[in-house]
């Protein structure tokens, strides 16, 4: 069966619950990862994702999938608005969910762990790309000291060198990353 476009799925949603479910599954992970990087708490992530998809459903007529365009950017824009509004008001809005008569959901610990794992997995990929250009010794020192909050003496024991050498590798590695960032900016 040919893959249906986002526009087609949204268009069929009012008469085919499976179409909106397919749309949800297609974009759920991206929204979870985005929300996870901004609000951090897994329970709040679920809240943001729920309100985002509720808004997407209610305003589905506004999505223009001309030329097979993906709804991913449109959904992330909605999520961004939900998060920004939460910063302003101190809570995740649920107006649209209430309008649509959605019930409050209770998620299991297993679901929360899955959400957390999805966010961390994506962050790991970003950090790996960021550190990839460093020499291996600097990369390892930064990963253990900066990302895992390790103690210098403990890292020195694990890497079989002195704490002074670890400090030097961290300093050089951070200096290289800083220079690379400034070169990117210029």
């Amino acid at each position: 069966m040919a893959l249906r476009s986002d526009a087609e799925l949204l268009d069929r949603s009012d008469r085919d619950a499976g179409a909106f479910t397919e749309f949800y599954r297609r974009h759920e992970r991206a929204l979870v990862v985005y929300a996870g990087r901004t609000v951090r708490d897994p329970e709040l992530v679920v809240d943001v994702v729920a309100e985002t998809f509720a808004r997407a459903y209610e305003s589905r007529a506004a999505f223009r999938g001309d030329g097979g365009r993906s709804a991913r950017g449109w959904l992330l824009g909605i999520a961004r608005h939900v998060v920004l509004a939460a910063w302003r008001t101190g809570r995740i809005q649920s107006d649209v969910r209430e309008r649509l008569g959605m019930q409050a959901i209770t998620v299991t610990d297993e679901t929360l762990r899955g959400v957390e794992h999805a966010v961390v997995e994506s962050e790991g990929a970003v950090v790996d790309a960021w550190l990839a250009d460093l020499p291996a010794d600097q990369r390892e020192a930064i990963r253990r000291r900066v990302l895992q909050d390790g103690d210098y003496d403990e890292i020195a024991r694990e890497l079989r060198c002195s704490a002074a050498v670890v400090r030097q590798r961290v300093s050089r590695g951070l200096g290289a990353l800083r220079r690379a960032a400034m070169e990117d900016a210029s």
């Binding site: 209610e58 909605i78 209770t106 961390v120």
Partner: protein, 425 residues
């Protein structure tokens, strides 16, 4: 098809769609493009009329004044010993700097305040009769066309930072997209902000502003920035605070809608390309902030207290209890041996679930007496497992999420108070 991450949400969405299918009245009507355009055109026309009327009234010196801006429902009133604190009487000053709006009307300006917790804030708004406020346009205040003054204690739309050792403010902030009314509460949304709410009112693109503002200290002389025309413009900074204010039409390609800067002096995300000081030296600025090291003349760091770990060490206790309206919560208790007397210090509390990759943290954003028993609550039901955490006394680094620390963060002091372990069954 892969399993979903949140099956509970997938089921509820499917149930909602099924309910909607048997309730056709809930379906949103398709909006015909021509109808949407004419509504936008009407909104643009009404806004233009109001702006012209406001400009005309301002030109004659007559602009009706409405009620002062009020806090949103449920907002907590500021307290002198918490968060930003309360504005110290007599410190509120509308600065002489004025910047014209691209569409005319009352100019934009800045107001400086100092708070009871040693924090300085710069607010941005439109100026009428020497007062800072917002206009009843862009759907704000139901488009009443009046000027609504900002109360002295208002804490929104402000860039705040810890005052330096001489009580001076060094800070900068940007607002990516603000309606020309100078307020976002109740106003229309910038056109590229995707709300997902079909009832949201969208501003005409030309009616949204990009704002950069700040204070560079008494020895600043001018800033150079890139204007809407793509050319360099020089603005003399306002003495004695070195204040600057840039108001441009919002560029929708920037994708920037929020407020950034947090008050800390970085000049990131501004159109500024250079800062020049009274002694003639200047520093280049990029979109990421200062291009290189840039000592800020006139900045006086606050002294760092002479404390050691032995001065703050204290046992830490943690337990789970049930609180009305909140269910089960985690409560952390410790004795704060070092006092917190203003916004320059705080205690931070971390919480990490063994086996989890993320962790939570909090900060005591209030004054604390030496020897006081401090209680910090992590809301949200705790999960089963073992939690560990650390209490740290911090001074000299970022101690508040609402404000920054100035251009040259003085040596940051972090002293561990203690650790805790909590098993939740």
């Amino acid at each position: 098809m892969t399993n979903s991450l949140i099956p509970e949400l997938e089921r509820e969405l499917a149930a909602m769609v099924a309910r909607q299918a048997v309730a056709p009245a809930a379906r949103p009507a398709r909006v015909r493009r021509s109808r949407r355009l004419s509504r936008r055109a009407a909104l643009a026309f009404i806004t233009l009329l109001l702006l012209l009327a406001t400009a005309a009234l301002a030109a004659t010196g007559v602009i009706p004044v409405g009620a002062p801006v009020s806090d949103p429902p449920g907002a907590r009133p500021p307290r002198p010993n918490e968060g930003l604190g309360t504005v110290v009487a007599g410190t509120a000053k509308v600065l002489p700097l004025r910047v014209a709006d691209p569409d005319g009307g009352p100019p934009w300006g800045l107001r400086l305040t100092a708070t009871s917790r040693g924090i300085g804030c710069l607010h941005v708004g439109r100026v009428v009769d020497g007062r800072l406020g917002a206009l009843g346009t862009d759907d704000a205040f139901n488009n009443d066309g009046r000027f609504h003054p900002f109360p002295t204690g208002m804490q929104r739309l402000a860039g705040c930072a810890e005052l330096d050792g001489a009580g001076q403010l060094f800070a900068s902030s940007t607002i990516g997209a603000l309606p020309a009314a100078a307020i976002s509460d109740g106003a229309c949304y910038p056109p590229h902000e995707i709300t997902g709410d079909p009832t949201a009112r969208i501003c005409p693109a030309a009616d949204v502003r990009e704002i950069a503002f700040g204070a560079l200290g008494p020895q600043a002389r001018s800033i150079t920035y890139t204007g809407e025309d793509g050319r360099d413009h020089v603005q003399r900074t306002g003495a004695p605070y070195g204040a600057f204010l840039i108001v441009l039409r919002h560029d929708p390609r920037s994708g920037d809608f929020g407020m950034s800067g947090g008050g800390a002096l970085s000049l990131a995300n501004t159109p500024i390309t250079r800062v020049t000081w009274a002694d003639g030296h200047s520093c280049a600025v990029t979109p990421r902030g200062f291009a290189g090291p840039c000592p800020i003349p006139g900045y006086k760091p606050r002294p760092v207290p002479r404390l050691t770990t032995a001065d703050v060490r204290s046992p830490v206790r943690a337990h789970v209890e049930r609180r009305p309206g909140h269910g089960r919560v985690v409560v952390i208790r410790f004795r704060a041996r070092a006092a917190v007397t203003d916004g320059s210090s705080a205690y931070t509390i971390t919480r990490r679930l063994h086996g989890a990759h993320t962790w939570g943290s909090g900060m005591t954003e209030r004054n604390i007496r030496a020897g006081e028993i401090v209680e910090y609550v992590f809301y949200g039901p705790p999960r089963h497992g073992v939690y560990t955490g650390t209490i740290t006394y911090t001074t000299g680094g970022p101690t508040g999420y609402l404000y920054g620390t100035g251009p040259q963060a003085r040596r940051s002091l972090k002293l561990v108070v203690g650790h805790y372990t909590l098993r939740v069954r």
